[in-house]
Assembly symmetry: C2
Homo-oligomer: 278 residues x 2
């Protein structure tokens, strides 16, 4: 997908919501366990109920791998369903992969060719040749971990580099932004660090940022928008648990839609205030 298509969808839906499909078979409504593929049935219902409010979907591979090959089948069905029924949606595999070159090439093949995702989250620790194989695909995206939403981001990402006052995550963004432009690269920046988001915007004014951490992790959407929005929106804000587990009962899909709509309404206000939509 091209940036222009993503932005068109944001304008049309007045939303920059990404729904995180962290679908854990231990957490979905029990009546679904009678279905042949409970995880896929859950995802399908969630997608159908929320697609009008969201521009992106992000299955997290961990929750599928918990079920082994069965989980991988549910992942294949989920991305297949998204591509067939909602081709306008931006699809992200939240897999946090990266390895030496020939191995990263295999991961790129797995997620971009075989599964057909538009984007993949990638870990930066192994450097350029571990990221480059993911950049060799037309209209596919690397979403590189920069400053993550969890407490452990303090352990290494905030460490000061090279006798300067710059933290490692700045260096990750600066160095990697030389590997590909904003048409191929996005960054993960946790909603739990709104002020750092402002500094990141100065380094990469034009890049899209994928923002996890609102909802269960405590990040604030208004602060994220204040520090992160650019002229082309430039943000995809993810919500997972708050939406998909809004109800543990048979009304889970309609309750998920209510939550997604609530966030979309907030986003419409923020986009209008910033004159991104009129």
């Amino acid at each position: 997908m091209k940036t222009s298509a993503l932005f068109d969808q944001i304008v049309q839906k007045k939303s920059f919501l990404c729904v995180g499909l962290d679908t854990d078979i231990a957490k979905i409504p029990v009546h679904l366990l009678e279905e042949e593929d409970p995880v896929f049935s859950f995802n399908k219902a969630i997608i159908d109920a929320t697609a009008q409010y969201a521009v992106a979907y992000k299955p997290n591979t961990a929750f599928y791998e918990q079920q082994g090959s069965k989980g991988w089948i549910a992942l294949e069905k989920t991305i297949g369903y998204l591509k067939s029924n909602y081709p306008e949606l931006f699809t992200i595999a939240d897999a946090k992969r990266a390895d030496i070159g020939n191995t990263s090439a295999a991961y790129a093949n797995a997620f971009f060719n075989r599964l057909g995702f538009d984007a993949l989250t990638v870990a930066p620790y192994m450097g350029k040749d571990s990221v480059e194989p993911f950049l060799n695909f037309q209209n596919k995206w690397v979403i590189l971990l920069a400053l993550t939403s969890n407490p452990g981001s303090a352990d290494f990402q905030y460490q000061k580099i090279n006798s300067a006052s710059e933290p490692l995550y700045h260096q990750v963004i600066k160095t990697s932004s030389g590997w590909a432009g904003p048409d191929k690269m996005m960054y993960v920046v946790g909603a739990t660090h709104p002020e750092e988001l402002g500094r990141i915007r100065q380094i990469v004014p034009d890049h899209y940022l994928l923002i996890p951490g609102i909802g269960a992790q405590g990040g604030d959407l208004n602060l994220v928008a204040q520090y992160g929005l650019n002229k082309q929106c430039g943000l995809l804000v993810n919500s997972s648990r708050n939406i998909i587990y809004a109800s543990g009962d048979s009304d889970f899909a309609s309750k998920a839609a209510d939550e997604a709509q609530k966030i979309q309404h907030q986003m419409a206000v923020l986009l209008t205030k910033s004159a991104i939509i009129s």
Copy 2:
């Protein structure tokens, strides 16, 4: 698996060889493509031919994911075959996972409970709470990326931290060695950095180190042993492509055995020289 069981096997086989099962369906002998599950048939033959020379096996998930759920089934069969037929072998999922806490817990469940691997390679960038869920398992191991074998290791791992002369990868080892002891944690250190290996040995004298990078990547086994061996051996040296693709023909398994045996012979000499075995 406990350290003592791993060491017993090293003494008995006079080997610290790990065979990397980077099994790419595009690279295996063509006659296997007629089999129901070519990747598993290949792995089975490689394991049977080389198990007397190796103490550990390390499937790399990227090559399985390239085939989607079918590849994940081949991975399940491979670990199942190893556990049933060679329970003494140490099994490593080279998956380089890590995410926020609840997601890492799902990955731990996937690789330790469901698949039953003894160890998992883990990426450090997201810090403590992304690694801890993997440490909550009895006799299971985190193998944390410290200094990787690829050129991109220079991009961030060598960056100097906190106005000191210490590179990031030192800090990763020092900080993480406070999260768990050498009974639960190992480190990935590329064979392409033998002198750094000596410095790492000073920081973590007792930990096992998983060493990729001999063979196709150019690392030298003698240098690795010189800088890396400790009293309990303390090394698992991986070879993937050199062994598993030693021949592209119907003699692939016996040629793989020859290559594994060659390395095992070198290792026996090195273990004797260092008085680890008599």
